[in-house]
């Protein structure tokens, strides 16, 4: 054991914080005590693939795509949840790490429709998406026989606000967390079943309108795979008319009440196609209620909101 030097630094809010220093790929990195290995990787400028991790949710460390090698640990370690300890020696690009990350991507690619997992699945803004990581690690999904078992789910369209396409679900638990303890406290959805048969579900798979869902859309906002999708986006994609590159994003403040949630209006062809909220916003942390998320028809009275 090396002696622990008590290093301190001023944090943004002026409080004194203790720092811990770990080695990431041979370079020392110091982060505030309590931070994770992933935080240290970000600080060191090391890009890490992530799927189940989100800065506004409690880590569940289930996807295992972010694993790193920690000296003296028998197995690899999920960087998103493991708290950095003084003196830890971490490898993020060893053969073991590359192998496990590659296999996780192959496993997901053979069982789930990842075609719309386009969001950056990395710890850096504007970072690489899953396809980039697949290329980086040389993932080869063709070697699993003629017909590997897949999620094999039909799209659930039960209302006019959002759809659920569990064929695209990687079971990252993010929607469950957003609906539950981490944001909404509605608990309309949970993980059901076991093993490969595990699915995100309401009780007895009752339809969303029959469930506890209050249509805040927070689950949609956190879903990394587009398994949960705003109906507006789904319809445009079905019509082959979803053109994300051409969309503009306008930031505004929700006018329904005095809380002051920031909204990002995504606009295509002068029409609002979805509403999000910035993750780093101090009021919302990315979460909204039904009014801010879906209540924009007054801006655009032409759009029909009645359930189909």
């Amino acid at each position: 054991m090396t002696a622990v030097e008590s290093t301190t630094a001023k944090s943004a809010n002026g409080m004194t914080e203790t720092l811990v220093t770990i080695q990431v790929d041979g370079r020392p990195v110091s982060i505030p005590e309590g931070g994770t290995i992933l935080d240290a990787c970000s600080k060191a400028g090391v890009s890490t693939p992530t799927l189940c991790y989100a800065e506004n949710l409690t880590p569940v460390n289930v996807c295992r795509v972010c694993v790193v090698e920690v000296e003296n640990s028998r197995t690899l370690v999920p960087s998103c949840s493991r708290v950095a300890e003084e003196g830890m020696v971490v490898q993020t690009d060893s053969e073991r790490v590359r192998h496990s990350r590659k296999m996780v991507i192959e496993f997901l690619d053979t069982s789930v429709d990842l075609s719309q997992t386009t969001a950056p699945t990395s710890n850096e803004a504007g970072g690489r998406n899953l396809a980039d990581w697949a290329a980086e690690y040389g993932a080869d999904s063709s070697r699993y026989g003629p017909a590997p078992q897949t999620m094999d789910e039909e799209v659930k369209i039960q209302d006019n606000l959002y759809i659920r396409d569990y064929d695209k679900c990687v079971l990252c638990y993010k929607c469950v967390e957003a609906c539950g303890d981490d944001a909404q406290h509605t608990f309309a959805i949970a993980v059901s079943g076991r093993g490969f048969g595990a699915r995100i579900s309401t009780e007895f798979d009752v339809s969303l309108p029959d469930s506890a869902c209050v249509y805040c859309g927070n689950c949609v906002a956190v879903c990394p795979t587009n398994a949960l999708q705003f109906k507006t986006e789904f319809d445009l994609r079905e019509a082959n008319n979803w053109r994300e590159e051409e969309q503009s994003v306008t930031r505004t403040v929700c006018s329904y009440c005095g809380v002051g949630c920031n909204l990002e209006l995504h606009v295509q062809d002068d029409t609002i196609v979805k509403v999000t909220s910035p993750n780093d916003h101090s009021v919302t942390s990315g979460h909204l209620c039904i009014k801010g998320r879906f209540g924009w028809q007054y801006v655009q009275p032409t759009i029909q909101r009645k359930p189909s």
């Binding site: 996807c63 694993v67 949840s81 496993f107 590997p148 059901s192 076991r194 506890a212």
Partner: protein
């Protein structure tokens, strides 16, 4: 109930009565809960406070209605203030709970074991049961591997509808017969010394055979000295991971926390394992006394026995033993006359899930959550049951403590071998003359153990599955290996939970291995990607390689094994490929 949104389905009166009774049995008053809940609003704490009652409530529903009906689930959700989606997520996790549709008829469900060694007799039995119109469920290992043979067929467990669950083979025991120990009662027996001789339904009989002497001795030694003796003994856990018990107990004793727990991990679902059932059915007071000593040593006042749902006789014997011990002052406050010491015990039943034997999955299951393992650290010694300091041990591990306390840790350490101290139970099954639970002082070789059980039947011994489905096959080159922790480790094998499953030369190893792969596929909790998908891909690979020489597939199998070992959350994923790959190395499959 302002906060919970429930569908319109309502429980039948019989369902709500059954749930209320199950809750009352564990000290949760449903009417009272609903009364004060009207006054309290929201919050995580409230969702968790009574959640541990969820599994008992679901058991009651399943027994009453033959399934978890939407109305019944709503009632449980309302009474316990658990969101219905979460309650459904829990119910649908377990093998013994049916959530898809109401049973078509009122019959019981006959669970037929389809794991080796029952495997070779299973399909014939299933066909004959189905011909009789029985509702059959193909079950993973039922922990009765000693009973599988050509005459009696595979192990059975009957899940009763509106009546208690039962095991047909328990009939003689229920009629009061003592279970015949397959081994002679030699003076050397320690763990099994009372088995087959003591009346398991009588505290007096237990006390007459030296029962509760160890607890008295523990009080004389004092808590710290008990831990010292256990540490000196070198006792290592018998649940599979072989962790030193003394270190575990010291950790719990030194951990901060008002409430600490002792948990006996009696989930016993590793295929080939049935030793804990032998103990619990035939000498239940011994486990209770050992847990009481453990509680005293680490400063825990609460003990739990988490027992697999398919062990009705052991459950009944333990529950009756706990009641008798409590009535006689051996449990409760001021136990055995020691004024300042309290310790009490509760039995909780699992509901069919191998993964719930993994210690942190067990905690989640007992707390009323899905049986998903937790990432470690933190460890159970500081963050165990209800996030409180917990010593969790296998029943066999705990039983060793009685002799350690009575004879001293040094005497225990002097027995056995250099790296494996004391006594060990082995579960012999498969192609041996007299399958059963056998006790030896560490030292005999694999071949000697098979001889103790009367030798191989039906031909030459071809391979042995050592340590269960999570263990590995060993071939003739290791038949003379001593069954110690050190020798098995050096050979790249493991004793695991003490499984010795013998296979003769006529075995269909392909069928055995495909079933092992299917077992892991079915039993994965599904939480982490490497195991959830890897176990399926491994099963697919074995099926498409059937009858073929495995060449190109070997690299893929190795790649999958590596990610499951390296990146899975728990031991299930870590070991899901071990047996299959060992079978390939030995040429048992993939080489024809």
């Amino acid at each position: 109930m302002a906060d919970l949104h429930l569908t319109a389905d309502r429980a039948t009166t019989a369902e709500s009565v059954a749930v209320d009774a199950a809750l009352a049995a564990i000290g949760v008053d449903s009417a009272l809960v609903m009364e004060d809940e009207r006054l309290v609003r929201g919050g995580t704490h409230r969702r968790h406070a009574r959640r541990h009652a969820l599994l008992p409530a679901l058991h009651a529903l399943q027994t009453e209605s033959g399934w978890i009906s939407p109305g019944g689930l709503n009632y449980v959700a309302e009474v316990l203030q658990v969101p219905p989606a979460e309650a459904y997520g829990v119910a649908s996790f377990y093998e013994m709970f049916r959530v898809d549709e109401a049973p078509g008829h009122d019959d019981d469900v006959v669970h037929v074991c389809v794991d080796a060694p029952c495997l070779e007799f299973a399909e014939a039995k299933i066909a004959s049961l189905e011909a009789e119109g029985k509702h059959v469920h193909r079950s993973p290992c039922l922990g009765q591997c000693d009973r599988a043979n050509a005459n009696d067929g595979p192990a059975l467990f009957i899940q009763g509808r509106q009546k208690a669950n039962s095991v047909p083979a328990d009939a003689p025991s229920l009629a009061g017969e003592l279970w015949p120990l397959p081994q002679k009662h030699e003076p050397g027996l320690k763990l099994l010394k009372r088995v087959g001789r003591v009346d398991p339904t009588s505290l007096d009989s237990y006390v007459a055979m030296d029962g509760y002497k160890a607890l008295a001795r523990a009080f004389e030694l004092g808590a710290e000295q008990v831990i010292e003796e256990v540490a000196t003994s070198g006792l290592m856990g018998r649940g599979g991971a072989a962790f030193p018990t003394g270190i575990k107990w010291r950790g719990v004793a030194g951990a901060d926390g008002e409430q600490k727990h002792i948990v006996a991990n009696a989930d016993e679902s590793e295929p080939g394992t049935f030793k804990d059932r032998t103990i619990m059915e035939n000498d239940p007071f011994a486990l209770i006394e050992a847990m009481t000593i453990a509680g005293f040593a680490v400063g825990a006042t609460k003990g739990w026995i988490y027992i697999r749902g398919e062990y009705p006789l052991a459950t009944a014997r333990l529950e009756s033993a706990i009641e008798q011990a409590r009535a006689a002052g051996f449990l409760g406050t001021a136990i055995a006359g020691a004024k300042s010491i309290s310790f009490d015990l509760e039995v909780r039943r699992g509901a069919g899930a191998y993964i719930c034997g993994e210690e942190t999955a067990l905690f989640n299951s007992l707390e009323g959550f899905r049986g998903e393992p937790r990432q470690k650290p933190p460890f159970p010694t500081t963050h165990g049951l209800f996030q409180q300091p917990t010593a969790i041990n296998n029943p066999e591990t705990l039983l060793n403590v009685l002799d350690i306390v009575t004879d001293g840790g040094a005497a225990y350490a002097a027995s056995g071998t250099e790296g494996s101290n004391g006594q060990k139970l082995f579960c012999l099954s498969g192609h041996v003359t007299a399958p059963g639970t056998y006790e030896v002082e560490f030292g005999p070789t694999l071949r000697e153990m098979i001889d103790v059980a009367g030798g191989v039947t039906g031909g030459e011994l071809k391979a042995v599955l050592l340590g269960g489905a999570a263990g590995s096959f060993v071939g003739p080159d290791l038949f003379d290996m001593p069954l110690t922790m050190e020798a098995t480790r050096a050979a790249g094998a493991s004793l695991g939970s003490g499984v010795i499953m013998a296979f003769n030369e006529h075995t269909d190893f392909e069928a055995v291995c495909i079933r092992i792969a299917e077992f892991f596929k079915n039993e994965s909790c599904g939480q982490c990607v490497p195991c959830r998908v890897g176990a399926v891909r491994q099963h697919e690979l074995l099926i498409r390689s059937k009858g073929k020489v495995m060449n190109g597939e070997l690299q893929l199998l190795e790649d999958m094994d590596r990610v499951m070992k390296d990146a899975s959350i728990c031991g299930l994923g870590h070991t899901a490929s071990t047996a299959v790959r060992s079978a390939i190395s030995l040429g048992l499959i993939g080489a024809n």
